[in-house]
């Protein structure tokens, strides 16, 4: 009886938890998201610290050690030109992860600008911007990305640019939808009635309310961008040799005899793509549970 009373008092006096604190707690309780976070940090660590972790170069050929199976010297063996596979995987992580980050930053920027203008202005502006978005969405994204990448010429930077410039429509739609509902709310009307400028309403009042859904979309966007870069490089339209990326390492192993007899050349980079994408998807799932508990998927 007394303890119950005491705890009630404690509850009543302690500061109410903010939404962010609650969200953070939900996120850190999410087991898969924690697994994803730890794995992702490990991947980032090995790619950043690659020169400290391995004595080999990812690019210099060593013709005396071609196509060697895994040994104590080369933990994951060597590729067709004698380069250490593990070293290349570490360095490739730099490329694959940064392509994911940079391209999503581009698409996020475009998507947020177009989506917020369309959603806030409504009417003809919205109509025009959404038809434009529809147009971009009408191409299967991989098909149009392959075509543009081929037209611009294959390189790391073009891969970032192409993926960024062609994946914004989904973010634009998401932001627009949020703006459409938020702009009719009391606090926005209040701001408008005291003469706050459009830009300030968009960025100070509405935008902060959309951040949680954008964060979730962006996380899944990074996973998707890594997959797209891998596909592009696999087709020879992304990162070019000798720079390693997980995708182009798989490209080098397409012949049937490598596929059959030298699995150390293609299994590890493929697994790395899967692991990176999987852990980012886990983080995205955790963020969604934490920030947007109403969504069912």
């Amino acid at each position: 009886m007394t303890t119950a009373a005491a705890s009630t008092i404690v509850l009543a006096t302690s500061k109410p938890e903010s939404l962010w604190t609650k969200a953070r707690r939900r996120f850190f309780r999410h087991k898969l998201a924690m697994f994803g976070l730890v794995t992702l940090f490990l991947l980032i660590f090995v790619s950043v610290a690659a020169p400290l972790l391995t004595p080999y170069s990812p690019i210099t050929l060593d013709l005396r050690a071609m196509r060697k199976a895994p040994t104590a010297l080369h933990w994951l063996g060597t590729d067709g030109t004698g380069r250490d596979v593990l070293t290349r995987i570490f360095y490739a992580g730099r490329i694959s992860l940064s392509v994911g980050l940079v391209s999503v930053s581009i698409s996020m920027l475009i998507g947020i600008i177009i989506g917020s203008i369309a959603g806030y202005k409504g009417g003809k502006v919205d109509m025009f911007l959404m038809r434009l978005t529809d147009m971009f969405m009408t191409f299967p994204s991989l098909v149009i990305i392959i075509t543009v990448a081929a037209a611009m010429g294959p390189s790391v930077y073009n891969a970032m640019l192409v993926i960024g410039l062609l994946t914004w429509p989904s973010i634009a739609r998401l932001v627009r939808g949020q703006f459409l509902t938020l702009r009719e709310q009391q606090f926005v009307r209040a701001a408008r009635s005291i003469g706050v400028s459009d830009w300030e309403i968009i960025f100070k009042h509405i935008f902060p309310n959309t951040i949680s859904s954008i964060a979730v979309a962006v996380t899944f966007g990074v996973a998707n961008a890594i997959l797209l870069e891998a596909s592009l490089s696999f087709l020879g339209l992304g990162v070019q040799a000798p720079t390693p990326s997980w995708g182009n390492m798989l490209r080098d192993a397409q012949s049937l005899n490598i596929l059959e007899d030298m699995p150390w050349m293609w299994l590890p980079p493929g697994l790395m793509i899967g692991l990176a994408v999987l852990s980012i998807n886990f983080i995205g799932d955790g963020l969604r549970d934490a920030l947007d508990p109403r969504s069912i998927l």
Partner: protein
């Protein structure tokens, strides 16, 4: 209903026009000269001859004139001619599209059946070990690149176990038989299907969970119906409506995925044609393929909306 469909088609028209402009500009951005690509590098290049050939192909005209010509031809079903072989692009697409449709069809079938069954099981046993296992499988499915999955399948089932052929659509040098064709179809079909399976599974699971506690389900149970009938006739009937929209989106993704899978398995569909056209800078073929891909998406979206409003009378098409 008819007015709804007609209006949807009318709305699509400006989008289609915009698409043709984008496709045309893209093809013109392609580096490399089509005429130079046709000449082998060891023949002497006569400047006049190159000019002449460019004139014959209309490549020296202003861009908007080229676009106008191209669009005019397009309306008549003429997609131009391959720079490489001189074959009409429309015919190239028509002869190769059945292979792609076969691949996409079997993948869609596998992924819907597997996805719906696994998703329903996962929802009915919510929070069980099985549910967690399937969720994990779902995440893995959307995280593995389809080309890597294809390589794994080739490695295990074609190279090690030798159950299935590694590539192609039929065994070379033999007469066409369905059995042989299906054996070739199995691995690429599976590789393409698995990613979609996890998507269908996750949507079905969420959707079943939404309706499983509704009154009509409880009523059905209270009437003493067997669990199977309750699930199949009452739960799934409503739960699968949102899943239909996913099928529409899936067609787009399958179409794009087929490009990669066809390349790995040397499946002679339009995806393989597209990739080789990309490496040969054969822009009429590329334009033709990209246009077809956009039309597939438009039609898939239209069909989805129509089917959606047809199966769910609660949705009014206004």
């Amino acid at each position: 209903m008819t007015t709804y469909i007609l209006r949807r088609i009318l709305i699509s028209l400006p989008i289609i026009l915009g698409i043709t402009i984008i496709v045309f500009l893209l093809a013109n951005m392609m580096p490399g000269d089509a005429v130079l690509a046709m000449i082998s590098s060891d023949t002497p290049m006569e400047a006049d001859l190159i000019k002449l050939r460019q004139g014959q192909l209309g490549l020296d005209l202003p861009l908007y004139v080229q676009y106008g010509r191209w669009l005019g031809n397009l309306v008549h079903g003429n997609l131009g001619f391959s720079f490489q072989t001189g074959e009409p692009v429309a015919r190239m697409i028509v002869t190769r599209i059945p292979a792609t449709l076969e691949l996409m069809g079997i993948s869609l079938l596998i992924s819907i059946i597997l996805g719906v069954i696994l998703g329903t099981v996962s929802a009915l046993k919510q929070y069980s070990a099985l549910d967690y296992g399937l969720t994990l499988f779902g995440f893995t499915g959307i995280s593995i690149p389809d080309f890597f999955l294809g390589m794994i399948l080739i490695f295990i089932f074609a190279l090690k176990l030798k159950w299935f052929p590694t590539s192609g659509m039929v065994t070379a040098g033999t007469d066409f038989s369905w059995g042989d064709n299906l054996r070739h179809l199995f691995l690429p079909g599976l590789a393409l299907a698995l990613v979609r399976t996890s998507v269908f599974m996750r949507y079905t699971r969420a959707s079943v969970l939404e309706v499983i506690n509704d009154d009509y389900v409880r009523t059905a149970r209270a009437k003493g119906m067997t669990e199977f009938v309750v699930i199949a006739r009452h739960v799934l009937r409503n739960a699968l409506i949102p899943v239909i929209t996913v099928i529409g989106v899936s067609l787009t993704v399958l179409f794009a995925g087929a490009v990669i899978i066809e390349t790995i398995f040397q499946w002679p569909g339009i995806g393989l044609m597209f990739i080789s056209a990309i490496s040969l800078r054969d822009s009429p073929v590329i334009m033709g393929y990209v246009l077809v891909s956009a039309f597939v998406v438009l039609i898939a979206n239209l069909l989805t909306d129509v089917v959606y409003s047809w199966v769910d009378p609660r949705i009014r098409y206004e």
